[in-house]
Subunit: 370 residues, 2 copies
């Protein structure tokens, strides 16, 4: 039995569609609602299961679109109604996480919140738990603390965090200040980062006291901060919430929390990092999904409960959502996604270009399959 962390609340922003995983991921069935690992659970449920030992079922909040309310509640039957925070439309991560922080801060002034994406994959839950506990201790000291993933390879698809000076915090074994954030590097640079050992992958996990987070938003974007506070003030009043959302939410700036909180805090020496020595992936595209499901083997990975796949010397991944027989012959790193109304065929090499197809479908009037 794991002990819950005192005053700790998890926030799961469940927003993005995951265009690069089309046609598996759709507007009405986004990435976080899919089982992408063969675990038998959606990524959202896996995220919940990972956090619940640290918080208990009553202290996990999900921020999601109104359209996904039913699906989210079906995935998370234990979630209290008040912890499902519904957006009337997507307004990026600063607004989503900021709103949760503002609401939870009103409910629990001393709350420490940790935000964890709904659609990432983590293996090694015990190691994850220790990292979160360490990060919470650092956060209690007034830092905004991120968990940076110890790189397992010179990935070029992730941003990196450069560790700076060591932070001595009781209960946290290996905390540092963040020196700076680095955008996705090229392969040579990534290799140097991995060899250096002071670079970690930026997994977008932020743990901090809600008041500290809100103060950082206020310092960098006072308008956004004012809107969030006004919303939070009305939120737990049934009569006032709807009108407040309708009036304020559409006016909030669409901006990532990285720019409103993480990078400015790093510059001020207020951003800390603890390393996470667990497997992590944001499953950003089908190349990543293929790798995740191949288990290091070089043959074809198959995702889909009723998949009927016949493969002759192919590698890559097949995602099957139909009962059709799928036959793949001799193609290296193939990606086949077979759904009722749309089929994608590409290779891992071109996985990032799936987004361009989604864009093309929009402009050519075939949005029915998005």
């Amino acid at each position: 039995m794991v002990e819950h962390i005192e005053d700790f609340y998890a926030v799961i922003p469940a927003g993005g569609v995951g265009s690069r995983l089309w046609p598996l991921s759709r507007a009405d069935a986004p990435k976080f609602l899919h089982d992408l690992t063969g675990s038998g659970h959606s990524l959202l449920r896996d995220t919940w299961n990972r956090l619940e030992p640290l918080t208990g079922p009553d202290r996990i909040a999900v921020v999601t679109g109104r359209a996904h309310r039913a699906a989210v509640e079906a995935q998370l039957p234990g979630i209290p109604d008040k912890n499902v925070i519904l957006e009337s439309e997507p307004r990026d991560s600063a607004a989503a996480i900021g709103l949760a922080a503002a609401i939870l801060h009103r409910r629990h002034p001393d709350v420490v919140i940790g935000s964890f994406a709904a659609d990432h994959v983590i293996r090694g839950s015990r190691v994850f738990e220790f990292a979160v506990r360490d990060a919470v201790e650092v956060a209690r000291e007034g830092y905004i603390c991120t968990i940076g993933i110890a790189p397992s390879e010179p990935a070029v698809g992730f941003g990196y965090i450069k560790r700076g000076g060591e932070l001595i915090v009781e209960g946290a074994r290996d905390a540092s200040l963040v020196e700076r954030f680095v955008e996705k590097p090229d392969l040579e640079t990534a290799k140097a980062y991995v060899a250096d050992r002071s670079y970690l992958w930026n997994a977008g996990m932020f743990i901090s006291r809600a008041d500290v987070l809100l103060a950082e938003i206020e310092a960098n974007n006072p308008t956004l901060h004012a809107g969030l506070l006004e919303l939070a003030e009305a939120w737990d009043d049934r009569e006032r919430r709807g009108p407040a959302v309708d009036r304020i939410w559409p006016t909030l700036q669409k901006i990532a929390i990285d720019y409103v909180v993480a990078e400015p805090a790093a510059e001020k020496g207020k951003l800390a990092v603890v390393p996470g020595h667990f497997d992590w992936d944001d499953v950003g595209d089908f190349a990543s999904l293929a790798k995740l499901n191949s288990g290091g083997r070089t043959d074809l990975a198959i995702l889909g409960q009723n998949a009927r796949v016949l493969s002759d010397a192919a590698s890559g991944i097949v995602v099957s959502q139909t009962s059709r027989v799928i036959s793949i012959i001799g193609v290296k790193d193939i990606v086949v996604v077979d759904t009722d109304d749309a089929l994608l065929v590409t290779t891992a090499e071109h996985a990032q270009r799936v987004k361009s197809v989604v864009d093309a479908l929009k402009v050519t009037g075939r949005g029915d399959v998005l």
Copy 2:
């Protein structure tokens, strides 16, 4: 208006399934029933349309399986009932063409027959007609005459015919004896053949007097010959045909006409050839189908009346039999065949291996999609 050729009958063996074109070609919808060129007609109908100017509608016989009778008659509404020759089961080309020869010989003792596969593609019907007319003149002299296709490239997927001594036949401009048949060569050999100009592709077209063909069968396989004659003798008697077929047909040797007629006749100096200077393809696999439909372009060829294909820098072919959106990204020479119950993904390079998938589907109990 083209003049019909006197005493000439065309025979169209419509038998093979075309396993290498699975899942487009199926046991119940074999290759010859499909439109593989975007012409709007099946290959069988195209074959009929090519021959009808030479024979008229009453002198084309189709040899096909009982299961395909309705489909064949729907494709060829002008075909006389007596010219649909039904096999109770497939017994290869010597039995199929031999039976047609024997039946037609009883009906018209002086008949010259020409056999033309139901599932080949020919472009240049006027040049084709001249080649057939020439071949018929050669056949009237007692030769078995084939039409060898003048190679347009060093193909390794076809057998070749080596031309021997020139034959002077009135009305035939360029006839020769056949020196020998050559199996599919390697690329180097094929290049030498093309440079040599005395090698032609073996397209399996045979034109001869029916009595000459039957005599050749008799000389090389007297048992088969006896069976065919017995069948033919009973054929046009409604009472006797069924019992004769049931008794004799299953006993006939399964063997290709090449071995019973063409090769032995070549050895005896009785096989002639006239060159065909038209585009010909046996559409043996999806690589061939892709080439046929690309029109020399390097982008993606699309086959299917209701195809909804979105392609980003891919080449190859998509065959669509569904209404699904098909998106192909950046794969060279891709082959995608999308049908209601089965999907094939491979590349042109591996097109010949489709047959192995069909075999695997049989042994793994998934024959429902064959």
